[in-house]
Symmetry: C2
Subunit: 220 residues, 2 copies
């Protein structure tokens, strides 16, 4: 099913013309965002934690220490809300009121479950590692049994989701168009700088020539 039904949980109530409910739009945001923010409830108290992620079909994969409150909470099957936010520009209008941000944001809702079994866990960690740092699963030393034992992996099966997108120039009121105030959009994107070698880097080991290019598709 390519589109999520609109329910009270995922419906975008404000500015509904910015809403998207199709998997293609939602998952392209999930896949591009550098990180996500996971919301969960513990004893009535809301928590929000930033973390790395990967998508596996209709599920979000998350990892952390086996002692992490978030991972233990997800492994216990509790509900989570996960937000993915990419900022594309600052919208400068002639009126303060119409100032805004060009953004693509997605939110998914589901329940956590542990990822178990060495092969499944390795596969999940590969997806998360490759999303953070493409190519490194092949270049770097892979997890050993001790590292695997200290890492928890959770899967949040996506029950419903939605996205909200704003793009384009400011939308001022007609009566403001003649004001002598500059209006437009200041584009925003993530910039990846020159790689800084580890001071302890072994002599003669060069950075992969395409290192920065591998990251250029990330936003957030």
């Amino acid at each position: 099913m390519p589109t999520f039904p609109r329910t009270p949980r995922n419906r975008v109530s404000r500015l509904p013309d910015r809403a998207r409910y199709d998997r293609e739009a939602i998952y392209s945001i999930v896949d591009e965002a550098l990180l996500c923010h996971v919301g969960f409830v513990d004893d009535g108290q809301p928590y929000v934690i930033p973390t790395l992620h990967a998508r596996d079909g209709d599920a979000i994969l998350l990892h952390g220490s086996v002692g992490s409150r978030l991972l233990r909470h997800l492994a216990a099957g509790n509900p989570a809300s996960i937000a993915f936010t990419i900022v594309d520009g600052i919208v400068l209008a002639r009126s303060v009121f119409h100032h805004s941000v060009n953004y693509r944001s997605a939110v998914v809702f589901g329940r956590g479950a542990p990822v178990e079994g060495e092969a499944e866990r390795l596969r999940a960690l590969e997806r998360i590692a490759e999303r953070l740092a493409p190519g490194r699963w092949s270049e770097a030393r892979r997890p050993n049994p001790r590292e695997l034992a200290s890492t928890a992996v959770a899967r949040v099966a996506i029950e419903t989701a939605s996205a909200k997108v704003r793009a384009g120039p400011p939308k001022d009121d007609d009566e403001d168009l003649a004001l002598p105030v500059w209006a437009g959009v200041l584009p925003v994107e993530l910039d990846f700088g020159e790689p800084l070698p580890d001071p302890a880097l072994r002599a003669g080991v060069a950075a992969p020539g395409d290192l920065r290019d591998r990251f250029r598709r990330r936003g957030g």
Copy 2:
């Protein structure tokens, strides 16, 4: 009191050497982050919503439509958790396990309350607008009574908070240092591009010369 006491709610349990509890460290992250993610609970379900913010002493100011679920929820005095996350670099280690992100993240906990009274509301909106787009409160047309009536403003008084910071090169295991794998940090920052004028811009209105420079201190 410059430092927040450590309680079960704000204590950083994983990698406690990365934790900060002093207002200076926490508020510098809050003030630099381009946006925040607000977590709240409605009928047992966690929600996370990205939004703009400003700080006013020991409180976070948020705004939105009077019809917004988030703003109505905060105005009703419900608890919220607000995360502010700035990514500074991708940490590439010799082992997949030690790959990481250099980041500064803060989370604050408190309860919402409506900001009421025209002067107070205007002052809050000025802080939010000036944080998003410095200088625009003076340059652009200020909110009129109709716009003010359609905007809800909430204040979340910070009860407790913490921050978590990672900086510096990868921390590989000693036995991996001799591996012929490049290791280091790929710096990440927000880049603000050339301003794109609104196609409907009045002829002869130039962009302020310092427009991009005003945003250079933002991260997120």
